[in-house]
């Protein structure tokens, strides 16, 4: 298997694992994440913060699962990248924000590396 393909799979599984962990964590223990919901999101969605956490967790689990399974990798990674970019901007230039910036870049890179048209598990080269 070409090194690029191995690299792609590592990136895909790594990013998928991250979103799955955070997604499941929000679904199973949402109360700990409520304080991270920004005011503008509550105002914009007109939903209780706890509900936003659950919806966010469900989104991350669904899209993370698509990445893990290698299905619709490009659109899933693109959506997750945009999602993470919003979080990164919200957090700002702190240690967490800078780390998230790197993860955002990795997620966008995954979207670019993914084949435009999915052939079953055929990637990159």
């Amino acid at each position: 298997m070409p090194l690029q393909t191995i690299g792609y799979h590592i990136l895909r599984f790594g990013i998928a694992a991250m979103f799955l962990w955070f997604g499941f964590s929000q679904l199973f223990n949402g109360i700990e994440w409520v304080s991270w919901v920004p005011e503008w999101a509550v105002n914009m969605l007109s939903l209780p913060p706890a509900m936003i956490v659950l919806l966010n967790g469900a989104l991350e689990v669904v899209l993370g699962s698509l990445l893990a399974l290698g299905l619709f990798v490009r659109p899933a990674a693109l959506l997750l990248g945009i999602h993470l970019l919003i979080i990164t901007v919200e957090i700002g230039a702190t240690a967490i924000g800078v780390r998230d910036f790197g993860l955002t870049c990795a997620t966008f890179a995954l979207a670019l590396l993914a084949p435009a048209k999915e052939k079953k598990n055929t990637v990159v080269s």
Binding site: F13, L20, W21, F24, S35, L69
Partner: protein
């Protein structure tokens, strides 16, 4: 690569992480008994409104009792409040107290859960963490409310 291998790995990843997170969140040790609050200064509203004026929202239940997980204080706080030396004896991962804006908090159970990393909490164990907390979360009412759930008393003047 065999066509079904990445799919299988992906499915295992989903199930594995889901189970791992589920177990992590259900493996919470029973909370230690709360300190004897009868020896604390009279603060009938302490758990609804603290000195910062924020509503108390315990971190784990929001509607329940705060759940400090470290051992009960070795010596009961005096009526005038918890002294700095008493707080200083709880400067470890096993028992982490910190004074923030005149109140004393047992942050032991929050150490592994702090989204910003354990180091931030461990760095204020046993000492006054007002500066660090205010610098990071001082303007965030939700974080202040979250903190109030860990309150165990007021700092001695």
């Amino acid at each position: 690569m065999k066509p079904h291998l990445p799919l299988g790995i992906g499915a295992l990843l989903i199930i594995g992480i889901g189970a791992f997170v589920f177990m992590q969140n259900n493996d919470i040790p029973a909370p230690a008994p709360l300190p004897d609050t009868s020896t604390l200064p009279a603060e009938s509203g302490a758990q609804t409104t603290d000195s910062t004026g924020s509503a108390a929202i315990p971190p784990s239940t929001e509607a329940g009792q705060p759940t400090p997980s470290s051992p009960s204080p070795s010596s009961a706080p005096t009526p005038s409040g918890i002294t700095a030396s008493e707080v200083a004896t709880h400067a470890s991962r096993e028992s982490c107290w910190s004074t923030i804006n005149g109140n004393v908090y047992d942050l032991t159970s929050w150490i592994p859960k702090h989204p910003g990393g354990e180091g931030a909490i461990l760095g204020i164990c046993g000492k006054d963490g007002s500066g660090k907390f205010n610098g990071k979360h001082g303007n965030d009412a939700k974080k202040v409310a979250l903190l109030s759930g860990f309150k165990i008393g007021v700092a001695a003047k």
